[in-house]
């Protein structure tokens, strides 16, 4: 991956890469593919701000996040987050923080297309956090 080339830094001892990939099943139903949609300009601004925030908070040398839009097939990568820090604890913590915020806060939506032809708009995060409908500015 080309992104990986950008992930190294002489002062970084720990690099963590997260890849969110499309599973072949969801709640027992066979998944054909996913498609992603975003409020694109707003999502891009929020991700850029999120990476800046994480860089400062965990003193990262590298913070990268890329989310695909449109159709993504089973086993393909939908989102990648890379963090690099002097020590590994910070790289892990920042990485998890960034992906959690992307999944729950950034205006990005997953639509699951099942093999049986049905489709469902997501909200089915792996961490099972309920959408609360809170208005968070």
């Amino acid at each position: 991956m080309a992104l990986w080339e950008q992930a190294h830094h002489p002062a970084a001892g720990g690099v963590v890469l997260f890849s969110g990939e499309v599973r072949n099943n969801h709640q027992g139903k066979e998944v054909s593919h996913l498609s992603y949609e975003a409020a694109e300009q707003m999502a891009n601004k929020m991700i850029a701000a999120l990476l800046d925030e994480a860089k400062q908070r965990w003193e990262l040398q590298v913070a990268i996040a890329v989310h695909r839009l449109g159709k993504v097939s089973v086993m393909e990568t939908a989102v990648v987050v890379i963090t690099a820090a002097a020590h590994r604890a910070e790289a892990y913590a920042a990485n998890q923080y960034i992906i959690d915020r992307i999944k729950h806060h950034v205006p990005l939506w997953k639509c699951e297309h099942f093999v049986d032809g049905e489709r469902a708009w997501g909200g089915h995060c792996s961490c099972k956090q309920k959408s609360t409908g809170n208005i968070e500015p």
């Binding site: 949609e37 409020a39 990005l108 939506w109 997953k110 708009w121 959408s131 208005i135």
Partner: protein
Amino acid sequence: MITLEFFAGLKDYFPPVMEVRETPEDINSLRRYLIDQQSFAKTLLEQCRFAVDDTFVHEDYPLRQGDLVLVIPPSSGG
């Protein structure tokens, strides 16, 4: 007048872009207006966040003539 943009599952109930002739007072009024328009989308609309100028705004944010308002269902990226 304000302009609304709808995303994801909301587009099963609303067009991608829609104009509202009478500018609602605030986000709360807008939310109630939309629920009145499409009661089938009530649950989803109650969960939505709203954004103006690419920034989430509170329930009491005062809308102004010409605002572009994004109607944002719960995020499900990743």
